[in-house]
């Protein structure tokens, strides 16, 4: 049917045949290979991985010599991963006794080979700040709150992260937005205009200026131009009728800014008793709001009443009272001076050009994250001079210089230099300033602060002790929460909570508050393990977590009241570790139901580091999206595994997913799925059996080295902003050894990554010339 396919298959056969006939180079380790490896390959592996079946694309005849360890390195890496994870040989096949010594031998062989090869740190492509980094950098540079997410097109991601340097490009659209943003930001940073009157900004449903998140929650994006005191009013049409002779209960109106609850207020929902055709009331709160782009949300907390309403009654003014407007009036007492002006105007620009130059040079040093050359300051001064030469003020000139700084490639990109950019053999340490930025964008997703820059300026940042002290300081800084949000949010995929949409008919409990609570739990948990330098075993199985009343109720844990999050000790083994976090369980489900396949894949990929191979060309992914009312999901999946092609991967995936079946598609505990009682028995890829989620987690802890290697690889990818390459193996292994020796502590992993060769060094490039 498709000639290309048969061609492809024969192509593989040809390639393998070529490898086989190539004479193997005899190496010193050949004897050991013959005694430790060959018997296993021939006796166990060749049953499936032979000329005829080549299961999983592997034919052992191609790796039957010591020389193949170097010639077929990627294939051997894969074999090693599977052997270590224990999923090969499969549980149904007897485990040869030489297996451990074979694994140790391959490990040693790789180490020897890596030690003999010249160390290769790879190179980091010029890194354009992503939206998140831009937002943070603007905040730290100028004290201006700007939400790049609102103004810039989305960044592409790859290898699981949105900070991969190769993918961050500058399109004309983005450049246009950069220029516009620079104009706005520079004006906000420097301008003094404070309104003499309060301004009203209204966000009403009828104008399409609010978003409805659910029946009792609305959201509006609003920029507070001037920090100060505001009256925030809420429009509340409708009324709730009495039920069984009892008046409708009051509700608690909550008001959030950027996900943080600012204030609550009790609101009556029963008919007011006044005679009018169109019931409507307003409530107001008096609040001090900070300058900047914010997302404001108003909603009724724990509103049980709306869940009982049919769809057509949700916005019926005789049947419900609901929110439909947020109105800001202010500022009534504007802040006298802006943080940004205090930060930027360190002298009086009207005093003359010397002051302007001082300000511009100081800003350039921070914006470029290194001391600017005099030539660069001169160029900026030519822009700044336009202020006075065009009949405006010197201060306006500073505003223009800021505008220029913010679109300079030296600001938008982090560009590292090589002594010879075209010599791939020339390995060198990055400069102290480049190192400072590598660390700050790794741990803070933002620019280096003054202290880090000053240390870089002394030239001593490369000294191990100085560096360690800086890393410690930065991990203790509140900005390290960015690492928890960005690294953990992508590694554990909880960032997708923003886009998942559980079916509201099936999951009436799903609200924006619950979604935020789920995110907060995982982020706080990660931040805690980080701050307290806990062992990474906590991620797999911890006896504590972080909850507020809403999430505790979701988990059925009593004794937690109020919207604040606090540490809660877990007294049963129903919860513990990230795999029992509702957010993780939600992002690994379909909108209407759980998926043992997705969850199993999640565990293999993000915890054990052995992502299943994608389904073969002609076989679409086995989907369990479709309910078959007569059989449990487990039965349906078991039937699918009767197909050997599917079984190769699904026998690893599905049983791990089964272990999480006690949690529904939004992470609630359940003992039955519809009419089917939950059967949470399953196996790890190495065949160890478990019967409950708690037992599964305990077994996962026994895979700690494997998990640690996975986490190290993920974190190193995030830190280096590039996919890991074969030559990074020795760095991963050496980090891994130190982390293991130190009780698998999270901070140790971070320190070791910062101290590693690829983080500290780079080299030239062996790519063809452009143009």
């Amino acid at each position: 049917m498709r000639p290309t396919i048969s061609l492809a298959v024969s192509g593989i056969v040809v390639a393998l045949a070529l490898v086989v006939i190539e004479p193997a180079r005899v190496t010193g380790q050949s004897d050991e290979f013959d005694s430790l490896v060959v018997p296993v390959l021939k006796g166990t592996c060749a049953t499936c991985h032979n000329d005829r079946l080549a299961s999983g694309g592997l034919n052992v005849t191609s790796i039957m010599s010591a020389a193949s360890l170097s010639q077929q390195r990627p294939a051997w890496e894969k074999v090693l991963r599977r052997l270590r994870a224990g999923d090969m040989p499969p549980a149904s096949v007897a485990r040869p006794s030489q297996l451990p010594s074979m694994i140790a031998y391959i490990d040693r062989a790789f180490e020897r080979a890596d030690a003999a090869a010249p160390a290769d740190p790879g190179r980091m492509t010029a890194h354009r700040l992503n939206r998140n980094e831009y937002t943070n950098t603007i905040r730290d540079l100028l004290g201006v709150r700007f939400r790049a997410e609102k103004y810039f097109p989305a960044d592409d991601s790859g290898d699981g992260f949105d900070n991969m340097a190769d993918l961050l490009t500058v399109s004309p659209l983005l450049m246009e937005r950069y220029l516009a943003a620079a104009e706005r930001i520079a004006a906000w940073a420097v301008s003094t205009a404070i309104p003499s009157k309060a301004i009203e900004a209204d966000y009403r449903a009828r104008d399409g200026r609010i978003r409805r998140l659910d029946r009792s929650t609305i959201e509006a994006e609003h920029r507070i131009e001037f920090g100060g005191e505001y009256v925030v009013r809420f429009g509340l049409p409708g009324e709730r009728p009495a039920v069984d002779g009892r008046d409708a209960a009051p509700v608690t109106l909550g008001f959030w800014m950027d996900g943080t609850l600012l204030a609550t207020k009790s609101v009556q929902t029963k008919p007011s008793g006044l005679v009018y055709f169109d019931p409507y009331s307003e409530e107001e709160l008096k609040l001090t709001l900070p300058e900047g782009d914010h997302v404001f949300r108003a909603g009724f907390i724990g509103d049980e009443f709306v869940k009982t309403l049919p769809n057509e009654a949700a916005y019926d003014r005789r049947k419900n009272k609901f929110l439909d407007a947020i109105i800001f009036v202010g500022p009534h007492a504007p802040a006298p001076d802006k943080e940004s002006r205090r930060r930027i105007l360190t002298c009086d620009p009207a005093s003359g050009r010397a002051c302007v130059e001082q300000i511009v040079a100081r800003l350039a040093r921070r914006a470029y994250r290194r001391p600017p050359a005099q030539r660069e300051v001169d160029a900026l001064m030519r822009v700044a001079d336009l202020g006075t030469s065009s009949g405006q003020s010197a201060e306006h000139g500073i505003q223009l210089a800021i505008q220029a700084l913010l679109v300079s490639p030296n600001f938008l990109f982090r560009i590292e230099r090589d002594p010879d950019p075209r010599d791939p053999t020339l390995v060198h340490k990055v400069s102290p300033f480049e190192l400072a930025s590598r660390i700050s964008y790794f741990l803070w997703s933002s620019m280096p602060d003054e202290e880090l820059l000053s240390v870089a300026e002394t030239g001593r940042l490369n000294e191990a002790q100085v560096l360690a002290a800086q890393v410690d300081r930065m991990l203790a800084d509140p900005r390290a929460s960015e690492f928890a949000a960005n690294f953990a949010g992508q590694w554990l995929e909880t960032r997708n909570l923003d886009s998942v949409k559980p079916d509201p008919d099936l999951f009436k409990e799903w609200t924006p508050q619950l979604r935020d609570a789920m995110k907060t739990e995982t982020t706080m948990f990660f931040a805690h393990v980080l701050r307290e330098n806990r062992p990474i075993t906590d991620f797999l199985n911890a006896s504590y977590t972080f909850l507020n009343e809403r999430l505790a109720a979701h988990y059925g844990i009593p004794g937690v009241s109020g919207p604040e999050f606090r540490r809660v000790e877990l007294t049963t083994d129903r919860r513990g570790g990230v795999l029992s976090h509702a957010g993780v369980l939600t992002v690994s489900s379909y909108p209407t139901r759980t998926s043992a396949v997705i969850r199993g894949k999640y565990v293999l990929q993000n915890i054990l580091g052995i992502p299943p191979s994608p389904p073969p060309d002609d076989v679409p992914p086995l989907s369990d999206s479709a309910g078959d009312g007569n059989r449990s999901m487990r039965e349906q999946l078991t039937a699918h595994r009767a197909n050997p092609t599917c079984a190769a991967c699904h026998r690893n995936m599905d049983p791990l997913g089964f272990g999480l079946e006690n949690y529904d598609a939004i992470g609630r505990w359940r003992d039955a799925d519809g009419s089917f009682p939950i059967d949470a028995t399953g196996t790890l890829p190495d065949g160890q059996r478990f019967a409950t989620p708690g037992e599964m987690r305990a077994l996962l802890v026994s895979q700690l080295p494997q998990f640690s290697r996975t986490l190290t690889s993920r974190m190193l990818t995030y830190a280096l902003r590039r996919s890991l390459q074969p030559y990074d193996r020795s760095a991963v292994e050496s980090i891994q050894r130190t982390v293991a020796a130190d009780g698998y502590r999270l901070q140790t992993m971070i320190r070791e990554i910062v101290a590693s060769l690829p983080f500290q060094s780079r080299r030239g490039e062996d790519a063809p010339l452009v143009r």
Partner: protein
């Protein structure tokens, strides 16, 4: 307390673009618009891409030739059936695995307009210049925006996109170079400000100053980038070249903006992204319509939602994710839901096409003078097939395409043949494109 209203009373202009019979913005044209109308109307080209394939049971009619009764998915186009051409058997061979293994979603979207087999990688991406950009590069200087890229779904997603393919392949349709995809605008407000300005009313003096400042700043950064470039390795140089290329594009845009007055679209500036899908679709296409009318651009790519998306369509009572649904294992109940989503998309598209048809200019309507391809990079989303891709063209491309028919080509006819022919019609003559074997004959034959 003094209160001044910040929200503009501009909504008096126009209440509900969608409800009025004629487009209100057609009534009062700006001078720029009027100028554009006196010339022979230009030909426009657009690509509307829907993800995850289409349930072909309800797409392909049982007949060829003149369009009669339309299958269920295409039924919303019934009032416009004389204005569309349905094309059968077009194939994208480069969407297939060839030697690259799994990843049909990543591959089919990456290859759709580029016509090449994209590099299988999660980070160091490589495709080719897409056909819309080849056209934009050549004729784009005649309009303020060489091209527009729009979409409806946010790309921000953790985890992998498709089996070893970077999300860049599924988030974007247009490629400016081998390594530079062009991200779509998703926010109607952002598109509005891009097309019609931010609404700042400046005195002539202030405007002149702003132009002076912008020019000086662009000069400053170009110098910066050029002085950096020399000391860098090839990959970093490429990054800076992308940056410099974008700066040049902005310079041209600014120069043009100075010569021409801003277009007044006579519509409210939208407030962010509406939560309703059809409203979002309507806002974006309304603005593209104005952009076509005022000749702000002639080339548009529209990625309706991301390839491989799991978006649920609760608007039409479908709570399941789109992608999981397409792996329906031939269960009729699930296939019907896929078909419902397909039809819902076509319905939105048909509303846009109807507006273009209602917008008269010299020598017919805007639709008459456009070629709008509506299609997908997969046919059967369950089996990931790349042949007989669902493809239709709305509009006649200015007396070029004979519409109102279904034409079925020989099996395995390259999709790139169609694109090559369309580029030709746009005035961009290429010897070859992607895996094209020649031009697509028969677009103009009865």
């Amino acid at each position: 307390m003094y209160i001044t209203r910040q929200s503009l009373p501009r909504r008096t202009f126009l209440r509900g673009l969608g409800t009025a019979v004629a487009l209100p913005f057609l009534d009062a044209m700006t001078p720029a618009l009027a100028r554009a109308q006196r010339r022979k109307p230009p030909v426009r080209m657009a690509f509307v891409y829907v993800p995850n394939g289409i349930d072909m049971r309800h797409w392909n009619p049982a007949y060829e030739g003149r369009l009669a009764e339309l299958p269920q998915t295409l039924a919303p186009l019934a009032p416009l059936k004389d204005d569309v051409l349905l094309l059968g058997n077009l194939t994208h061979n480069t969407g297939r695995a060839l030697l690259d293994g799994p990843g049909d979603h990543g591959r089919c979207c990456g290859s759709y307009l580029t016509g090449v087999q994209v590099k299988k990688t999660v980070t160091n991406i490589k495709a080719s210049v897409s056909c819309d950009q080849l056209v934009a590069n050549q004729i784009g200087t005649q309009t303020r925006f060489p091209s527009l890229e729009v979409g409806l779904e946010d790309a921000r997603q953790a985890g992998d996109c498709d089996s070893g393919y970077s999300c860049a392949y599924t988030n974007n349709l247009a490629w400016r170079s081998e390594t530079q995809p062009l991200p779509p605008i998703l926010d109607p407000r952002a598109l509005f400000e891009r097309l019609f300005g931010d609404g700042a009313e400046l005195t002539p003096d202030a405007k002149a100053r702003r132009t002076l400042y912008r020019r000086s700043i662009l000069d400053f950064v170009s110098d910066d980038a050029r002085s950096l470039r020399g000391a860098l390795g090839p990959t970093d140089q490429r990054k800076l070249d992308e940056y410099l290329g974008s700066i040049r594009a902005i310079e041209e845009q600014l120069a043009r903006a100075e010569r021409e007055s801003a277009v007044d679209p006579h519509m409210d500036k939208p407030y962010g992204v509406p939560s309703d899908f059809s409203e979002h679709f309507r806002l974006m296409t309304d603005m593209i319509t104005v952009a076509f009318q005022a000749d702000l651009t002639r080339v548009v790519t529209f990625l309706v939602t991301r390839e491989g998306t799991s978006r649920a369509y609760r608007e039409i009572g479908i709570p399941d994710g789109h992608h999981p649904l397409t792996h329906h294992r031939n269960q009729i109940a699930l296939m019907d839901k896929v078909a419902q989503i397909n039809r819902y998309h076509v319905e939105q598209f048909s509303k846009w096409a109807a507006k273009l048809k209602a917008s008269q200019e010299d020598e017919g309507s805007i639709l008459d003078n456009s070629m709008i391809v509506y299609g997908a990079g997969l046919a059967d989303g369950n089996a990931h097939t790349h042949h007989d891709l669902p493809t239709l063209i709305a509009g006649r491309g200015g007396k070029f395409i004979k519409t109102g028919r279904r034409v079925v080509y020989r099996r395995e006819t390259p999709m790139c043949n169609l694109f090559l022919t369309m580029m030709d019609r746009m005035g961009v003559r290429m010897d070859n494109f992607g895996d094209a074997t020649g031009h697509l004959n028969g677009l103009d034959l009865a």
